[in-house]
Symmetry: C2
Subunit: 366 residues, 2 copies
């Protein structure tokens, strides 16, 4: 039984729809094909055909329609085509926190790429006040052709909703699977391993892992790669200290400030994202005793623009947004070429290591 | 004569619409009201009425419909309502560069606020490859109810397009006017004056203004307020040095690095936005001779999260996103309550001064 129908009342309509029968708003706001037909002295169907590239219409009639359309500032209406075909050309894009520059830039890349492929974007923001399932209901009612999300929407319920509603979905860095659900992953485990190997080469003996929220599947994989690479080299003893953050700058700053106050002296710090790494670098600078990279090397993840700022010069993993977005549009193309197939692709995109000052030690310190 | 109709060929259709007559794609992807009606043993019109809060239907029939809908995972289709009412419940939101955290956060606030008011967002990104007018055509074809933009779209052509297409528009920090076009402005001139007064109180004698792109109307007003306040106090002589940036971190860093290399010794710097101010602070730190705030005070604009980071601690003007977005939704309410009125509101929102370390001098230096 679906949520929306759990009580016997009608679903709540948004205000703009509530008033749709109000005669005061039934004014003609936009020029319609009927107006163009009247102005051109042709049938309404001729107007529709004039604006369809594969319909039969004489050049003279088309010219007449275009002239009338220009005079009236008419724009073809896509809504009837959506009704006829059941396809809207709209892709639902579900985002969470845009305060992380990585997600803002990912959205920008995606928006440009989908636009260039001829799609429109219906943007939905999911936060505590709105669950992903509620967002899905809204997107379904507008008949979006597919949903793309960068949220950590790993629940079994979400996968079931997507499958039940039969909306193809593409999820970034998520672990949900199901018919019609594709995932595009950054190679988080391998990146975690590489971070560990870089630190080992530089003689890091007191490594620290600064985690994102535990619900973040990408963070869990980065941790696993980092810890296993240290264990493999050093034996099975636990040598990596684990600190907990929440993916914000503030959490990185606080976690490292507190750790240093307890007189710990880390010499290598791998942060689950760049925002926390910038906070960690500021905590190190404020503390004053340590300096980076001489005493402690720092590695982040995401390659946000701020990591390249002169105050940070952070070594990090670039998630290669162009490749992530290209994979998404390729999967969309597959979805559209075989709409009945319930495409479930899985793509892994290598992250590129961007080396900056934060790991440029001249010699090992231990 | 409109762009779209300048040649005599049919307008190019996006790929998904090109193939709408292809029988292969005419499969039934989503459950329709016809399916629900058949399953419930009622008419299709009964299904529509069951999902409309102000239609007449018996409780028993509605229950039957809801049961069938739940069994089939049906979601009401909003597309027919869009056709009937001419109102889509969609607001077109036109954005430029999301790499500026201010615009990313403004988009987030707007998305949440419009969602809570019952609207959906159609997101369009305008860059060099796509003009605002082309974006407008796309939005018009989807019948968006209004357009909100934070772009500096100050051309007379843009205003004419909006008016011709009869799409109500709300523009942030823009100077375009016209029937149906509303503007919401930050109080840029007053903020520029206040920045000058703060510097004058601290004895700043060699003030510098770091400008954004000249097409940016908000930057021009901030400059005017800053320069006029200095002129009023110091006489008509030009005492403010003007440097040119382009609103990016890099341009702020480069402009100030070059200025310091020429042996200039500014003691007050007002930047048209925070990104440039962060770049300027890093250039000062790298230069090493000066320190902020002892030798030079720095003021930015926008209150991006990075300005509060420990490496910057930037004094800045907060544009009060909550107030800007609230003004936008109030104007939308007016537009919807009187759709024929061509609402043209103008709202000015005071910016709040956020004082941080970058202006906390203990005593005047000159």
């Amino acid at each position: 039984m679906s949520r929306i129908l759990e009580n016997s009342e009608a679903p709540k309509l948004p205000p703009w729809l509530e008033t749709r029968y109000d005669p005061r708003i039934m004014i003609k706001r936009l020029i319609t094909s009927v107006d163009v037909a009247r102005h051109a002295g042709v049938s309404q169907s001729a107007v529709s055909r004039a604006f369809s590239s594969n319909a039969s219409i004489s050049p003279a009639t088309r010219a007449k329609v275009f002239e009338a359309a220009a005079a009236l500032n008419y724009r073809p209406n896509r809504i009837p085509a959506i009704m006829l075909s059941g396809r809207s050309g709209m892709i639902g894009v579900v985002v969470g926190g845009l305060s992380n520059p990585f997600y803002a830039l990912a959205l920008e890349h995606l928006t440009i790429s989908l636009r260039d492929a001829g799609f429109q974007i219906m943007l939905v923001h999911v936060d505590d006040a709105l669950t992903f399932d509620t967002a899905l209901d809204q997107l379904a009612s507008y008949r979006v052709d597919a949903v793309i999300t960068a949220l950590a929407v790993g629940t079994r319920e979400t996968a079931r909703s997507l499958t039940e509603l039969n909306i193809p979905a593409i999820c970034f860095n998520s672990r949900i699977i199901g018919p019609g659900i594709s995932t595009i992953l950054s190679n988080n485990y391998a990146s975690g391993s590489l971070a560990a190997h870089i630190m080992q080469e530089q003689g890091v003996a007191r490594p620290v892992w600064l985690a994102g929220p535990t619900r973040n599947a990408a963070s869990r994989e980065r941790r696993r790669g980092f810890l296993e690479a240290f264990s493999a080299r050093q034996g099975t003893g636990k040598i990596v200290t684990e600190l907990q953050g929440d993916d914000t700058y503030e959490s990185g700053f606080t976690a490292i400030r507190e750790y240093l106050r307890q007189d710990h002296r880390p010499d290598g710090l791998f942060c689950s994202n760049d925002l926390m790494a910038c906070g960690a670098l500021d905590a190190l600078r404020d503390h004053g005793v340590f300096s980076c990279p001489e005493d402690v090397m720092v590695i982040g993840y995401d390659n946000i623009p701020q990591g390249a700022w002169h105050a940070y010069q952070l070594t990090t993993f670039s998630q290669n947004l162009a490749a992530l977005v290209e994979a998404a549009t390729e999967i969309l193309a597959k979805i559209f070429s075989a709409p009945a197939a319930r495409i479930s692709q899985r793509r892994v995109i290598e992250a590129d290591l961007i080396v900056r000052r934060s790991t440029k030690r001249t010699a090992p310190t231990s």
